[in-house]
Amino acid sequence: MSYVKPAFRHPELPRNELGYTKHDYEGGLSTLCAGCGHDSISAAIVQACFEMNIEPHKVAKMSGIGCSSKTPAYYLGHSHGFNSVHGRMPSVTTGAYLANRDLIYLGVSGDGDTASIGMGQFVHAVRRNLNMVYIVMNNGCYGLTKGQDSATADVGSVSKAGSVNPFDAIDLAGLALELGGTFVAQSFSGDKHQLVPLLKAAMHHKGFSFINVLSPCVTFNNNAGSTKSYDWVRDHMEATATIDLVPLRTEITTAYDDGAHQSVELHDGSTIVLEKLAHDWNPRDRNSAVRALHAARDEGRILTGLLYMDEDRPNLHEILHTTSEPLNKLTHVDLIPGASALEKINAGLR
């Protein structure tokens, strides 16, 4: 079967600054199970891109393999996408990013795709500080292969089939922090109000932006006893702060009342406004983020929101001193040294 959405849309849909409607950011009809958390994340991506006035063709949608990795077909229909191989989205994105530093790379992956088969590539993408958004749609199981435990399933979590997971979970956000991730966040597919601004801030960030999104699998991992079910996550979630991204040109309005919020001014003049909930935590201090994450875990809470952000670390292109013009735009003149240079090389070989 092939799936194409009906083209009809209401003519009066609101438009963003570029004149696009939200429809222009949508993709094909989802084939995921009804109620799958991944679909909510797709919707949040559409909303974030619409609100950010992003030109759809300036985004490249990257993914590996899994239910989660199928989602790029369901949003940003005017963007190119690459549904690559299982666990290898980071390397394909690295190459794409090297070829053109000017696009927004929006990568999605699953917990199997990232924490098991793709762990090596994930770790190195963080380390290189690729300028990309890396979203893990984390359901604690392998959805596409019918519900096996993944490496992010919590110890003691009970699968739909009734088996109890005997292994400790890999904490992807903690790992990203440990590896020097420059934007580390955690969220829940069911919390659009938190997820949309986080996505906007992540796309805005000029380095590796990691968002671990708990995203229940209604078919295989939404039962009582599972620690990745809608109910469990809702009951155990604790937000660090509410967050909003205020772009450069917009004045911060008084909607944020003083004292309860913290403004984080970014290098380009934009601002992230955080309404702090956890008081011992500072999003610019990695140690404080690690401590908060550990404390939450010990108490069985899931800490969500922007955990940490560092704008100062150079990204991969800065590290490599690549020219500011995208490499894929360079022409013959920039690239081919020509016959006379080759003659000189020949002369040096005699």
């Binding site: 690559s84 191989v85 190459g95 090596g120 690549t322 360079l330």
Partner: protein
């Protein structure tokens, strides 16, 4: 066998210890013969550790211009006590062995049928130099000097080469020349000289240069406009990436210091090819270089690139397998692996360079073919070609040449099209049109994927769509047959129904063997393959010969298997000649194998 006077036709073998600075002295020796206008072909035989184990360097000198390896060492220079017994054994009867006579040789090591040339190298250096490191390094220069006196190499040529080598560290020039002079003096006073074979100035080099194949591939990538390289260290391919880095740092840096290229040392080969694929998908020319174990790891990605139709260039510098094999020995044993790499129905074009010049040309061609065919192209070299210096035609570039970026649509193209489908076969050659991300705000976007899709690029699980796509890929393969470089065919002076087929680094030895066999009354037509899939020319060659010797450097006759499978040839007509000991094949081996096979079939 007794040696008569033989000018410009001999083999010298150096037995050194890895990491003692012998490599540059040995190269100096080879280069002095080149500068005297005489064809020379040096080959390293080295272990995979960095320091301490024996390494050998064989230099063949050939007035006739035969550049393949030749068995039979006429003069062995040994400064490595560890391999001494083996080295003494390697010399042909009537040959010579030069050794460091600072310590005497054991009686039982001596051979009656060769001449021992003792030079107290260490003693000479100890007397002359204070610094222990200098004593070790200059010992190498002492033997180079001694060789010049024994083989009639012009001392002025050596002086010139040393001055060029140390042009930026001029104070090293006099002591190096002094050390060579000490070697000359010792030979003149104590040893019979010159030897019955030696070098005489000629003008047989023409404009040829000396370079290794890996550097040539890297230079080819620069001239092909490659901007992204991703790699993981593995012998013998590492120096491809290193050379690309060094050429780019000279040729691709802007006045403001920023770079028109990006090189990433990946975390493994999976990531390396993933990066190369991602970059190519995004419109940059990108490549990776590896060897057999790396190609094994890249299999899944090669299947993806084949199916999603993404160009990528892979340079496979083959080494001995399977597994990690003998990592520092040569072989042509990744052919079937590369040809059909990955799961499902896949096949990939391969190019087979035989000289560094061709490494350059075929690397450029590989990028054009990858873009034209939107598929992985593998450049199959090997350790012998990649890591040894070869006498080769100078590199050539035509400034009017434009790169073939294949069927890529611009925003204007997209605006002019009534409809765009990523996998539509508009031209009937099986090759669809691709678009690069970011090209057009509303047209031309598609999702590249390994899962099946319609011609419009939409996900599908319909059997007809899947099959239709696979059939189009077959049509594309047929198109590839006419685009890849043609074979090189030589007809023997005497008409014959026997043929010989070879490729890559087997070429030099095979051409020499053909001469030897012709002289023995066994003429052979020759076909040098330059690419897979095989073109109509190869099919015709096979068609017009009754018996074809397929010469290759692996155990299983992999090229023969490909010929049988792809051209449907009767296996009996293809006779394998196989060398797989890890050393470069020799003309002598090929000649003997073919003679034996011919005798067997005529007496049977």
């Amino acid at each position: 066998m007794s040696h008569t006077s033989r000018t410009n036709d001999f083999v010298v073998r150096f037995a050194n210890v890895n990491g003692t600075g012998s490599a540059s002295a040995n190269l100096l020796f080879a280069k002095s013969i080149y500068r005297m206008g005489v064809p020379v072909s040096p080959k390293n035989i080295f272990p995979s550790n960095i320091q301490g184990l024996p390494t050998w360097y064989e230099v063949r000198v050939s007035e006739q211009g035969y550049l393949g390896r030749r068995d039979g060492v006429d003069l062995c220079v040994t400064v490595n006590p560890q391999s001494l017994v083996e080295d003494i054994r390697s010399v042909v009867p009537g040959g010579y062995l030069m050794y460091d006579s600072t310590k005497p040789l054991h009686e039982e090591m001596l051979r009656e049928d060769i001449t021992f040339l003792g030079i107290p190298m260490m003693q000479i250096c100890t007397a002359e130099y204070q610094d222990p490191r200098q004593r070790l390094l200059f010992k190498n220069m002492v033997y180079v000097g001694a060789l010049s006196a024994l083989l009639n190499i012009e001392f002025g040529v050596l002086e010139q080469l040393v001055s060029e080598q140390f042009a930026s560290k001029a104070k090293l020039i006099p002591p190096n020349i002094k050390a060579m002079q000490l070697g000359v003096d010792y030979v003149r006073e104590h040893l019979p000289h010159p030897l019955p074979f030696g070098v005489e100035r000629r003008d047989l080099i023409g404009d040829r240069v000396i370079i290794d194949g890996n550097s040539a591939c890297a230079l080819g990538a620069v001239y092909a406009g490659a901007t992204v390289a991703a790699w993981y260290p593995i012998t013998p391919s590492t120096s491809v990436a290193e050379a690309f880095d060094s050429y780019c740092s000279e040729l691709r840096v802007r006045p403001d210091g920023t770079r028109n290229y990006a090189i990433v040392q990946a975390e493994d080969e999976l990531a390396a090819i993933g990066m190369a694929i991602g970059a190519n998908w995004n419109g940059a020319r990108a490549f990776t270089a590896t060897s057999g174990p790396g190609v094994s790891l890249m299999n899944e990605f090669l299947g993806l690139a084949y199916f999603a139709e993404i160009p990528v260039v892979l340079i496979d510098v083959q080494r001995v397998g399977p597994s990690t094999g003998m990592p520092t020995r040569t072989q042509q044993s990744d052919l079937t692996l590369a040809a059909y790499a990955s799961h499902g129905d896949t096949k990939h074009p391969m190019l087979f360079p035989s000289t560094p010049t061709e490494c350059f040309d075929l690397t450029v061609a590989a990028f054009d073919l990858a873009d034209r065919l939107q598929t992985p192209i593998m450049v199959m070299t090997d350790l012998d070609l990649g890591m040894n210096d070869h006498l080769t035609a100078p590199f050539h570039w035509d400034d009017t040449r434009s790169l073939d970026l294949g069927k890529v649509l611009t925003a204007e193209d997209l605006d002019a099209l009534p409809k765009y489908g990523r996998y539509l076969d508009t031209d009937g050659d099986g090759i669809p049109y691709r678009t690069i991300p970011g090209t057009h705000p509303t047209k031309g976007a598609y999702v590249a994927r390994g899962t099946s899709r319609t011609r419009m690029g939409v996900y599908t699980e319909k059997s007809e769509d899947y099959q239709d796509n696979m059939e189009r890929l077959t049509l594309k393969w047929t198109t590839a047959q006419s685009l890849v470089p043609a074979a090189e065919i030589h007809h023997s002076a005497v008409p014959t129904r026997d043929g010989m087929l070879y490729f890559g680094t087997t070429t030099q030895a095979a051409m020499e063997a053909a001469d030897l066999l012709a002289a023995q009354g066994q003429p052979l037509d020759q076909c040098r393959l330059r690419a897979f899939p095989f073109g109509a020319d190869v099919a015709a060659f096979v068609e017009t010969h009754d018996r074809i010797f397929v010469v290759e450097q692996n155990r299983d006759g992999q090229m023969r298997q490909l010929l049988i499978a792809e051209l449907g040839i009767d296996p009996h007509r293809l006779v394998s000649v196989l060398n797989f000991d890890g050393k470069p094949i020799t003309a002598d081996f090929i000649t003997k194998s073919i003679t034996r096979s011919v005798t067997r079939s005529t007496t049977a």
